[in-house]
Symmetry: C2
Subunit: 189 residues, 2 copies
């Protein structure tokens, strides 16, 4: 329609602006409301203008998922490997809870594959090594920890009906499960 712009005129858009607008749109109206056309509408451009900055909807979601992991905190100082693992996973859990609608998408695409996800994987592997977990057992251990953390975050989102457990109880459930898994990981032969 009328975008008050002619073909060739710039709209001042770039990749980060598109991703940021998508994040805001989901935060306001939920993941189901994220469509390329609606997003373009919010940004005041024609729908196909987005394809100059993003390969398509799938890539956009990949970017959103990876961005959600941007602020994972590396364990501070020398708290020990196991406590370090606990801190990293708890930080990740809290980050994921901030963008609840996005979390199930991690499972739908078997985890994020972007740079932030890779960085997180590297941190976990190093901490497992420091904790004395043998080389071959580290990748399975990372999987178990990620499954628990992402799964807990996905289940923490209230569904249509009110759920029985409160936020504190959900946090406690995540924390307990994490502790049991860590105990098993570092104790395994």
């Amino acid at each position: 329609m009328d975008y008050r712009r002619h073909p060739g005129q710039r709209a001042g858009l770039d990749r980060d602006a598109v991703v940021a607008a998508a994040r805001d749109l989901i935060a306001r109206d939920g993941f189901a409301a994220l469509s390329m056309r609606r997003l373009a509408g919010v940004l005041g451009v024609a729908p196909n203008a987005l394809y100059s900055h993003v390969a398509g909807r799938e890539e956009l979601i990949d970017l959103l998922l990876d961005e959600a992991l941007a602020d994972v905190e590396v364990p501070s100082g020398d708290v020990g490997a196991v406590d370090g693992l606990r801190q990293v996973m708890t930080s990740t859990y809290r980050l994921l809870l901030r963008q609840p609608d996005l979390v199930p998408q991690y499972l739908a695409r078997q985890g994020a594959r972007g740079p932030h996800a890779q960085r997180l994987g590297g941190i976990l592997t190093a901490l497992l090594a420091e904790a004395g977990v043998p080389s071959a057992a580290r990748q399975p251990a990372v999987r178990v920890l990620i499954v628990h953390t992402v799964g807990s975050a996905a289940f923490a989102v209230p569904a249509a009906g009110t759920h029985a457990l409160g936020a504190e109880q959900l946090d406690a459930t995540f924390r307990d499960g994490l502790g049991w898994l860590l105990a098993g990981i570092v104790t395994a032969d």
Copy 2:
């Protein structure tokens, strides 16, 4: 278009036939291919004919999810509560692996809410009680076990790129994680 049928003429459709056709469609072409219009096409009816048997696409997916849990095996005889829990979760895990495309949808809607899911929840709660887990700790324990099982199944699905872990390793990872969680659940004060 032309369905070789007039308004008012039956097509011999019912709720189960719709759900079964949806399951087959996903098995053949993937979850992304499941649309009401395509499903109607497979069944040889007009798109809106499906709404006589199903409230809409969301309910159809709910039915598919619950149906996937129909064949969970209850533990045989007196194997003990913990081994019983292990058997039920392993049976559920194997069932979920049969319909891989469907699994992420469990997380997207915080678990299934149908009769089969409720039955599974009841079995788990009873076994936890038998294992001596105090009443208040049972619901969180069920959550942890479900998160691990569904999450493991979701992550077991190969993504676009080939994945490093083989099927045996994935099974071992699920089994180990389950063991650690069960140990923690029955040991907790």
